[in-house]
Amino acid sequence: MLDLHPTGQASASAELGTSLRAGSGPSFDRKARLRLFNSAFKIACIAAAGFVCLILLCILFFMFRTGILTFRDVSFSEFFFSTNWDPENESYGALLFIFGTFALTALTLLFSVPFSVIIAIFLAEMTPAWLRNLLRPVLDLLVGIPSVVYGFLGMTLLVPMLRDLTGHELADGLLAASIVLTIMVLPTISRISDDAITAVPKKYRDASYALGSNRFQTIVRVVIPAASRGILYAVILGMARAIGETMAVVMVIGNTAQIADSLFKPTAVLTSNIVMQISSVEFDSTWNHALYMMGFLLLVISLLMIVVMRFLQQRGGKNA
């Protein structure tokens, strides 16, 4: 159990040499103990990994158990292929929310990924060390700003600005929501990509420079591909946050159950609809079940997106 607190070993890196020496003690007793610790630690790690999965399975089961009851009263095709969401009159078409979620996530990634990767390159490869050490905490800071604050800023600054720029009476909608989300996921994506780029071994770069590449070539052809695994994870994490974000989106998307055929039309996504209505409907009503089903759907969508991205990465890896 004690071994589960490896952060306590923060100082260990300093005594790296001494510790390695300690491992070579020949006593049998010590060896047996080491072996025991080793396997105990491994089991603890497996248990922890199992626990993480267990949580997901519990949540999936919990959402599914309630959500599936929807289909007692609503037909499968209505739920997935109808865009008419009017539960007060027994219409449960969730397509518009599904569409909204996809559209919002795609827009957000479109804005945030290029910016984030450039910021990551900027931080990891170009800025002098002192500036880097200053900027990294600033980026981390943004993650800690509550989403309520982002939402409030979006509502009081961004939306009126969009309103003036476009001449719409009400500029709530996909564009406003995706801009707010972009700002929210930017630090996450760029910081994790930054770490991934920094972790690319120096020898790769040295080899590239030694072959006569300039910085542009080194970054684009060597560093980014080498860090692509980490960058992809950063993008997935950002995407995950974009799909799952609620409090900020609710404030700027308009919360109207209609399909968004324009960037400025008030609409709704899965999360915003869940958060707006879950606490306002009666337990054990079809409406409530439908909201749980939407939660389940949200999970399935994000799992699917992750699988697809992993698949794409594998394909890409083979071609390169």
Binding site: D3, P6, T7, Q9, A12, A14, L20, G23, S24, L34, F37, N38, C45, I46, A49, V52, C53, I55, L56, I59, F62, I119, F122, E125, M126, P137, V138, D140, L141, L142, V143, G144, I145, P146, V148, F152, L153, R191, I192, D195, T198, A199, R205, Y209, G212, S213, F216, Q217, G230, Y233, I236, A240, G244, T246, T271, I274, V275, G295, L298, L299
Partner: protein, 299 residues
């Protein structure tokens, strides 16, 4: 950690031809975008801080909230924020690290583990409101403990577990394989290698992960509203795990959405400034040892 990027390119910067132009353009472009975004972020922070920070007083930080009169404080909510953060990290860091280490070091590379990995990533995309509902199902309905600090902290820990797991895994994987081999060659066991080599080297990434997670936990409101409630026990330093646990972010939500106090706007501004300040503090507290350590090993 090192200055590799600052010095290396200049030696080769004078090459001519199209690629050199690309190089210039690219460098300029990255600098331009970088500076724009940094300015934007600083502007955003300034905007959030300028209204709240100058008005901060000790009474506000320490005082009890008020519903009617102006001048209510955020004392218990601030304390709860730290308490809940501490508890949730105490649960999620060991679990997250262990799971991350497992995935990076022990797990065989097969389809089954691929599935586990997708599970972990999937979990990180679960909207916080669902963790809140899940927390209610466990703590309020199953164990009947009501709205408590404990419920909030555990639900928050669940929220943070997948991110910690994945960040740990990624950072450990990024450790050069030579280091690991060297450690094994010296006769270390796997556990020793992990403890003495892998984790110290991967610490930078892990700390980034913890900072991200801590920041997110500090600013999370949806989960806490559902599992820990919007009240505090009304006194400072209440360590009871079963007290209601309104955190600062929840208080901010409450003040912005429902409170009638005349100075709600000002409280919100000040609370925002306090939140940002403490997230900064958390970052510094986690990073300073790392930085000192980095200097020590360099010498």
């Amino acid at each position: 950690m090192t200055d590799r990027s600052a010095s290396a390119p200049s030696a080769f910067g004078k090459r001519s031809g199209a690629s050199a132009i690309y190089n210039r353009l690219f460098t300029g472009f990255v600098w331009f975008v970088g500076i724009c975004v940094i300015l934007f972020i600083l502007g955003l922070l300034f905007l959030l801080l300028q209204k709240g920070l100058p008005k901060l007083t000790w009474d506000f930080l320490y005082g009890l909230p008020s519903e009617i009169e102006e001048g209510g404080g955020i004392g218990p909510a601030l304390f709860n924020s730290f308490y809940v953060l501490f508890l949730s990290l105490a649960i999620s860091i060991p679990l997250g690290l262990a799971a991350g280490i497992y995935l990076a070091e022990f797990a065989p590379d097969n389809k089954w583990i691929g599935l586990v990995r997708i599970c972990v990533e999937g979990l990180s995309s679960v909207p916080s409101i669902i963790f809140g509902l899940f927390g209610i199902a466990i703590f309020v309905e199953m164990f009947q403990v009501g709205l408590t600090i404990l419920g909030g902290a555990v639900s928050l820990a669940f929220l943070n577990l997948p991110v910690l797991t994945r960040v740990t895994e990624e950072s450990i994987r990024a450790v050069p394989v030579e280091m690991k081999n060297a450690s094994f060659a010296l006769g270390s066991t796997h556990l020793q290698t992990i403890r003495r080599v892998l984790i110290p080297v991967a610490l930078n990434g892990i700390i980034t992960g913890i900072c991200l997670v801590a920041g997110r936990a500090f600013g999370e409101s949806a989960v806490i509203i559902l599992t820990a409630g919007v009240t505090t026990s009304g006194s400072m330093w209440d360590f009871n795990l079963f007290s209601p646990g309104e955190t600062l972010a929840v208080h901010l939500w409450y003040v912005q959405s429902e409170a009638i106090v005349p100075d709600a706007q000002e409280i919100a501004q000040k609370a925002t400034a306090v939140l940002i300040f403490f997230v900064l503090l958390i970052n510094v507290v986690f990073r300073v040892p790392l930085w000192l350590n980095g200097r020590k090993t360099k010498l």
